[in-house]
């Protein structure tokens, strides 16, 4: 039985428990790109994952135990909050240029989540350049992008339930999303990557899976 089949046994209809959406700040939704992203990792013997979001214990165990990944948890949302609090948001782009100690082409998969939505353009470009640098040829980057700019200032934690299901919870942010980028603007951020898959979900979230050509 392949890994993705074993992950399927974790789906809610078989046995994994999922809390239904019953409050304003948590919900479950189906992801279409995650499975393709995971297949990039499962093809490697010792995959290396870069997670730009806040640490989530279940995600760490998912990637570490089931996929055998080495995981870098970076929590750039925390860094961004610090810069905003100190009224130095315009300096975040320079910070990002030196933020990633990983070597070139050393990362198999990057979970960007929806971080780019919270960045101004210079910071988004600096981040995209660094992510492109560290991603190995054949590696994948998964990003989420909103379609509207919400008024509330909050971040979203995405819990991986199984290979097609995510559960999200919001938590406070120092400032809200900076823009709802057009698809062409998102693609232009990553000129050296190609779009492998792109989905618009019913919750108006765009999932875009990039791959670095070999």
């Amino acid at each position: 039985m392949g890994l993705l089949d074993r992950l399927a046994s974790r789906r809610p209809d078989v046995g994994v428990l999922v809390r239904p959406a019953d409050s304003a700040d948590q919900s479950v939704f189906t992801t279409k790109a995650l499975r393709q992203f995971l297949s990039t990792l499962t093809a490697r013997e010792t995959p290396v994952l870069l997670d730009l979001g806040q640490v989530i214990g279940t995600n760490v165990n998912f990637f570490g135990q089931e996929l055998g990944c080495k995981i870098f948890v970076e929590d750039l949302f925390r860094d961004l909050d610090r810069f905003v609090r100190q009224d130095k948001a315009e300096e975040f782009s320079e910070f990002l240029k030196a933020r990633f100690p990983q070597e070139d082409a050393s990362i198999d998969g990057i979970l960007c989540w929806d971080l780019i939505d919270y960045l101004d353009r210079p910071a988004a470009e600096a981040l995209a350049a660094q992510l492109t640098r560290v991603l190995r040829p054949g590696g994948a980057l998964l990003g989420f992008f909103g379609t509207a700019q919400p008024r509330d200032a909050h971040y979203t934690r995405h819990l991986i339930v199984d290979d097609i299901t995510l559960q999200y919870r919001t938590y406070p942010a120092e400032r809200g999303r900076q823009a709802a980028l057009l698809n062409r603007d998102i693609i232009r951020l990553f000129p050296r990557l190609r779009v492998s898959d792109s989905f618009l979900l019913k919750n108006n979230l765009r999932e875009i899976l990039f791959r670095k050509p070999t």
Partner: protein, 146 residues
């Protein structure tokens, strides 16, 4: 027979190498290296560690700035904080804990043979999953799609 647990109190500051052959709870400040290779190290809520840590198991309720290597498990509790790299076959990170660094469980990918005696369905991994994902038998997740 009760096991002895040594406590390092809040006011104690240690700089250098700290090693021992019994379980240890630290509520003070330690800088340097901590080695308890066959025992359990607990960093209490007031513990502040700037050190490389080696132990059988490590429980973090306070703050660790340094790499943590455990032969069995690293457990970061709700208000615990670790900035550094973790090497351990089992890692539990509670909601509300802070962690930044790398995690290496020293497992091979799914296409390789698993490490003997280690199962993806480890009770701790399941406990973490159940903490954040509970199911009502009467409901199924709402499927959304493009």
């Amino acid at each position: 027979m009760e096991k002895d647990i040594v406590n390092i109190g809040k006011s104690v500051v240690i700089k250098g190498e700290l090693n021992g052959s019994e379980d240890l709870t630290i509520e003070g400040h330690v800088e340097g290296t901590i080695e308890l290779r066959e025992h359990v190290l607990t960093i209490g809520p007031n513990g502040r560690i700037k050190a490389q840590v080696f132990a059988k198991s490590v429980i973090v309720l306070g703050e660790v700035n340094g790499n943590v290597t455990a032969s069995e498990k690293v457990d970061i509790r709700e208000k615990g904080s670790v900035d550094g790299d973790i090497i351990s076959p089992r890692v539990a990170i509670a909601e509300g804990a802070h962690f930044r660094g790398s995690v290496d469980m020293q497992r091979k990918g799914p296409n390789q043979s698993q490490v003997p005696g280690q199962s993806p369905s480890h009770p701790d991994a399941k406990a973490q999953g159940n903490k954040t994902a509970t199911q009502s038998a009467a409901t199924t997740p709402q499927r959304v799609g493009a």
